[in-house]
Chain length 446, copies 2
Amino acid sequence: MSRHPSPLLLSYHAATELFRAGEDTPRDFLERSIERLEAVEGTTRAFAALSIERARVAADAATQRWREGRPLSPIDGMPIGIKDVIETFDMPTGLGSPTSERYRAPRDAACVFALREAGAAIVGKTKTTEFASTFPTDTRHPLEPSRTPGGSSSGSAAAVGGGVLPAALGTQVIGSVLRPAAYCGAFGFKPTFGAINRGGSHDFQSQSCIGAIGASLADLWHTVFGIALRAGGDPGHPGLFGDAEPPKPSRPSRLIVLRMPDWETVPADVNRQFESLLSACSAAGVQLLTGAAHAGVAAFEQAALDMQALSFELVGYESLWPLKTAAYHDAWGLTQRMHDRIAQSSALGREGYRALLNRRAALRAQFEALVADTDGIITLTTPCAAPIGLSNTGNSKFTVQASLLGAPAITVPMLEDGGMPVGLQLIGGQHRDEALFRTAGWIAGL
Amino acid sequence: MSRHPSPLLLSYHAATELFRAGEDTPRDFLERSIERLEAVEGTTRAFAALSIERARVAADAATQRWREGRPLSPIDGMPIGIKDVIETFDMPTGLGSPTSERYRAPRDAACVFALREAGAAIVGKTKTTEFASTFPTDTRHPLEPSRTPGGSSSGSAAAVGGGVLPAALGTQVIGSVLRPAAYCGAFGFKPTFGAINRGGSHDFQSQSCIGAIGASLADLWHTVFGIALRAGGDPGHPGLFGDAEPPKPSRPSRLIVLRMPDWETVPADVNRQFESLLSACSAAGVQLLTGAAHAGVAAFEQAALDMQALSFELVGYESLWPLKTAAYHDAWGLTQRMHDRIAQSSALGREGYRALLNRRAALRAQFEALVADTDGIITLTTPCAAPIGLSNTGNSKFTVQASLLGAPAITVPMLEDGGMPVGLQLIGGQHRDEALFRTAGWIAGL
């Protein structure tokens, strides 16, 4: 298969071999990152804040440890970006608000603290849409500045896709990790709901997750597992299951082929690439279940139709409090469009919200029953490449399903649309994140 | 029955009749609160911060609305205190840390914002133990300053029990609402887990709840329901069920009498009062299920034995991140004893934590099965009165069960121990908060 990741991707995992061999160091890696950042940031605008000197201190300490053969973790010294809805003690947390003073938290979020414990070099805060919702930032696509990088983890995707960083944290409640990762030609991973401790992150909604955008599956796994190992999952959740070693590629036995809602909007050429990928899977012995031949898959394709509307309603209701307190005190500032959104979301009410929770629970049960004896779903991450223009961050119709289902999802940069990256998406059953990485690794190698 | 609430309790609910009749106003009510506060605060030390002038503005606005017969809610104008782990935009949030700068949040927590929407007058932040854990503050018992008011919602209980406020918010992860409420002769309510939105509150643990301490059951209901109506529950939870009107007293059909662990430490005189209360229930036609006669109750009494140890381990693990980031950055400061606690909690690890979650889930299933065809559990809130001395906040052996089970619990000030208040505790099945209020109302009237 042809593959179409961003040509700029910069793997830290690959470099660690060189650290061990004494042919490269984390500090040199970081300096190349900084050099790249300085070259492109004026155009890409991926960062809301930087902490370069502190990152250098971390990279120097890591350089020493790798030299002595005792790195703290596989990401010891890795330059990483943090989405600007996640608290950091050394940089403000702006939540993407264009109108306000930026808030300075007195602490690190759980995931940031875990990254520091693992030795990572926190380079900066990456830009996000307003309150990690849909109103865009000024960040541009790293390969083609006339296009959106996607959102809401816009800066994280632009920094990784642009070869500035090997990994960056994002958060996803609708499609905010996978969509921008796919647009920017990077790998992206949204774990099972609750798998990563959200303490100190402002992604509080009931289907929100911290995830990562990275230069390779190994970079993603090391980053997310490194956090899970040190900070655990959300309180009351078992956290990410798996081992420190990146899951080895392994051929899946059976995959569900899911045609997402509005599949007819997929350009013919992208659809051809997808079909050709399916043929390659089939030829290698993977059993493919399609809606045309399997009643359960067909029923689930039907069920998927209104998952986007359902998610918008749920998330809108859950966002009322922080938006209202922001509006009242002008704490972070609020644009008129966000004021309008408050008015829309207020209509749902307690009873309406409860009914939606019940609907979501039923959809989750339907999905888990369907996926149980398979290796997951194979589909596209977006219908097409990143749209031209910065006025919106693209379509979440293909990414919202995994968010609503609380299921792990991975995007692999394998397809293209007029020369721009398009992602292949894999979705697994809850807590089967590690197995999904095995499948993703195998498919990425086709 | 004789009853032994604090003689100082000051009900806002009772006063609203007078507001309607034009014989009292919220502003006058507030001024009496402030007067009382000024008289006792030097001894009791219930407040970490005050916002008197802003409270006066709120009370004046409420006065106008009551006068015009259109109050925003039953708690419009009510003076209320907020535990100092819950964020307020107009006062710092100190988390009970004795060594640090106090953090100023740029927003109101969801529950605080809801209270403001309901018209309440936020008077101040009430003192808590260090990080709402077990190390005491300098707050004293409002009836007897040589004694602890209990913890961790120490200031909230002291302010209500001391007749300064009709209600104050607390949080409970082990016993931090019900125990201090009982010690201070007040009513206390910890709702079903998830029933009150914890956004912006630093009680993040997997069995933590926002609750209230109040001068009457009606004050409690109006406060907690008023929040639930406006801010909902935790994201993904259905929130508190019920109606705006305080649940009417209603005789329960069947109650489980639970002898808590170390029941033999209950003083003979307190036990006699408890037995006499049971006799009154029985005489009124309530069927009582005891461990002596009911195998399920006996088994549950056994199961309750290690709920305290289990809770300490769970909460310790979940508290690692915020304590570690506080320790690292000295964000809020950390005493040596908290550093020691980090070391203890680190031993559990991910696998150990998962095993404890499974144990808790099994205990919850056992409890819900037992309680399903009853009106709940009747027991004591503490074995005895508040201990003398400020070196510890008393015993959580009788309150931890409802916390671990995620179940609603109410304490009613009905018993006494050497002239000091002791609480009767009622525990219901999850989401049956409203029914538990009916039972509590009936028993309080015996």
